[in-house]
Symmetry: D2
Subunit: 288 residues, 4 copies
């Protein structure tokens, strides 16, 4: 569970003996108490990954010391590191197109306190009337229509919103539009897409129809970080469900909605709890 | 459950009203009692598929009548049809290479009566010593080594064995060799391969290593009919299992063994119970 | 998929040879075209179960004939039978208490056309303000508070609503109140409850806490018909999800919500598609 | 993966700040390199659980220091602790009755190196002829028939074998006999049973028949530590598979075999990799 008073440290660095000890001592010296610690040795790349959740006995007094300690060891061990202060909730933007099941699901989980985050805005390429049945509460709604001609301008607006809202994460909740290579690059590690197939099968458009044509016996959904390479980004979470010969493409779509919303919600949860660390074209996801 | 005294009728034909009635009346007139009946309307191709398991009140007297009745309606309704007399067990050949987990599993299920079939032979491209720990009982073992030079000769021997043993089904139980286009074509609908990936992802060689490289969160296995197009044949059964960032390719292989043997056994079971009907590049599998 | 122009016949009777033929001929004579047919022989009780979906070539002309035919054979073969005319949607009442995740989910699936039914009313033992975030559209809302003293009166009101709305089905969507034995009895086969455990484990109150205490590694949810015997009614659908030692009761509740809404939605779908037939204390559920 | 040159430390103690740091420093001072570390705070009981896999730079020189360090902190922090030297494989005894699917499966996984352990013996209450198809290699076979009259004597022999073979773990691989309360007590934490139901549902005899009677839609299997309280011991692993109304008790048994062998193998794997720590009537299982 999210401890709102805690910090989450994530790091990766070249592996070498003693790293767990180094990190835990560094935090201990700053009065830190570790409540969760997970690590991973990538034996192929030789990199070490770690996630530590900890509290400080006296935040006011020890926070600066803790950061100073971390900076020292980070330098020494060539660490990529990040510390999240959990008194500040992560800020997310949700982008959506015609199909709203993922949006509705994320909003519900947020409303009942299952996903602890600030929704900084909802961005759609359809007008707000399309979502009349959804209670968006106080969340700002941005209508950003898009055509081949206006794509560049639209994306500039999108970038402004991302900056203004200080969003940590952009969620493509069945947004159905491809971000430009440039923007994808900028958002690496901070933009999650839900693709409605079990990647790497059935990339691109109409994956359920592709799956139907191929005659698969399971369909799936994949949440992944967006990169400039369509549907090739690092995978965060996947799941599948059974289909049979009697299921039509419409049935695939119906059954798929359940997987999509579950898989996307899990990936968002992993993100806001600092459970995901990029490892090249892959992810390390420290489960709960 | 397999009723050893029953017949299994499978058929497909252009759909039209009244087919269920036509078939059930045709069997009823020959004193048939239907114990299982399953049907499928492919609304896209307009074809109708049916599987009927039935007994005859007086086999000796009514069997000929039943076949005559069926021939009549089959002609009238342009049916592809097949009737299996279940007093004769299906005959299967199991082909295997170095990894024997699927072979061992099939033999076990056969020994305890879970898979009711005759194993007409085990064919391996390694000598029998490799399988010293396996009790093959009375099943003939054929050692057919293969090299690029001997591939044609080896396959001729294989074809002779298939013919001599009157095998209904050839099972590639992790055989790891690609059958020639010619032989694949001949065996269509009668040769099942287990591919160690969730097709269509990761075709070809070393699929677990491919899956590891891509960073998927689930791995799978696929049982499919062999066609001349590698790993593109009609899918019969698939399943998956969860993997994480901490799983190495060796872990993928280990976890995969469990799925492979389960998926292959299910596909073989479906075949020997006449549950599978080809539908172009797909299958209709009437579940139990 | 639901064919709005079709009929669904469900029946059960003592098994005997020729039943499939009898039923299909009976419909065929009334110009019926069978689009789905499923059957089940309960070899232990000797009863036969069947579900047939069919259209009539000329509804206006043949509907009466079809019913007359069915009545004749029903009498002859001692059938319990029911025919649903699918031009009329099933009418459901949804009952809810404090937790609204199942209600929200059912409303969403109904709104987007996934569950094709009429929601005749929403009944809660909490005032409407509690559900302020939910768009109930035109669905009547009934506030029926309940205390030990008012239980009898409250249930009388409930019965009136059921009668007035001509509800086919009452859905206890985490209603958390036990219906009286009398009302349970009246509603047999027409009232579905979602229990938040994998029955028969953890009956009664606080099942997630019970599951936590027992240290299970999977938690589940069960949709079942309500009977006068608490949590003992015929099971329609069940599913589970994985938990670990690190999950608290709060995590069980969170993970459980996803299963509950999925399992309940599936059971409701099975009901409105006439897929469920009672078989004593069990159900026959003809899957799609 | 099992590193044959490593140590595995498991411990539990009252939780307090700094424990991760204390343990990692203690090992680091003895030239230990931590390759895996997992922890769990039981927030309800206030106990802390940890599993650490580590190597020593110079075994010969530092092993004694490492143990001395651990003893010191163990005393200070009231730790229950255990260190396994993985150069010695765990020794297991497999007990079996008529059904041999779990035995065959464990032997296979052991033979191909998936389960790295020494099988110290196979104990059966049926004579060896019953297992004629199984290649037990060099593993000693003990025939210990049992009747109500000989139960005490039989169990004394069993105890002797456990002592003589210095077995770490006794596996009841569908042994179907209840151990005496006395022996169960002695073996706590070192005897794993596979029960063929999803506990706590369907304790005791013939669980598949019980499940069939109840009309469940999923069946399961449970691996748990044996205690003197039948089928109430701490659960290690569970899994389920789907059944329908068309499955007979014989189908339940068939489908169940697949779950039983998978669940038992996973529990044994967890045990021999020191992944399981007892937590009262529950287990902490640090997954791989």
């Amino acid at each position: 569970m999210l401890n709102s008073d805690s910090f989450a440290l994530t790091l990766s660095c070249p592996n070498q003996p003693g790293l767990v000890s180094v990190v835990s001592s560094c935090l201990y010296e700053a009065s830190g108490n570790i409540t969760e610690a997970q690590q991973h040795d990538d034996t192929i790349t030789g990199r070490f990954f770690m996630r530590v959740v900890f509290t400080l006995q006296d935040r006011a007094r020890h926070k600066a010391l803790m950061f100073a300690n971390m900076e020292k060891i980070a330098k020494q061990y060539q660490m990529n590191w990040h510390i999240t202060d959990r008194t500040r909730k992560k800020r997310v933007l949700i982008m959506v197109s015609r199909f709203d099941h993922c949006l509705v699901d994320l909003l519900y989980r947020w409303r009942i306190g299952e996903l602890i985050m600030d929704i900084a805005g909802i961005i759609a390429n359809h007008p707000k009337e399309l979502y009349a049945h959804i209670d968006m509460q106080e969340v700002p709604f941005y209508y950003l229509p898009i055509t081949p001609e206006t794509k560049t301008t639209q994306e500039e607006k999108l970038q402004s919103i991302i900056e203004e809202t200080q969003a940590d994460l952009v969620i493509l909740a069945r947004y159905m539009q491809v971000l430009s290579s440039n923007l994808s690059q900028k958002l690496i590690g901070h933009c999650i897409n839900i693709h409605h197939s079990f990647l790497p099968g059935f990339k691109g458009a109409k994956p359920y129809h592709q799956a139907f044509e191929r005659g698969v016996k399971l369909i799936g959904a994949t949440a992944h970080f967006v990169t400039s390479d369509l549907d090739e980004g690092p995978i965060i979470e996947q799941d599948v469900t059974r289909v049979t010969h009697s299921d039509t493409p419409a049935d695939f779509i119906r059954k798929g909605r359940d997987i999509e919303r579950r898989v996307l919600a899990q990936a968002v949860r992993d993100y806001i709890q600092d459970r995901i660390i990029l490892n090249g074209s892959k992810t390390v996801v420290f489960g709960d």
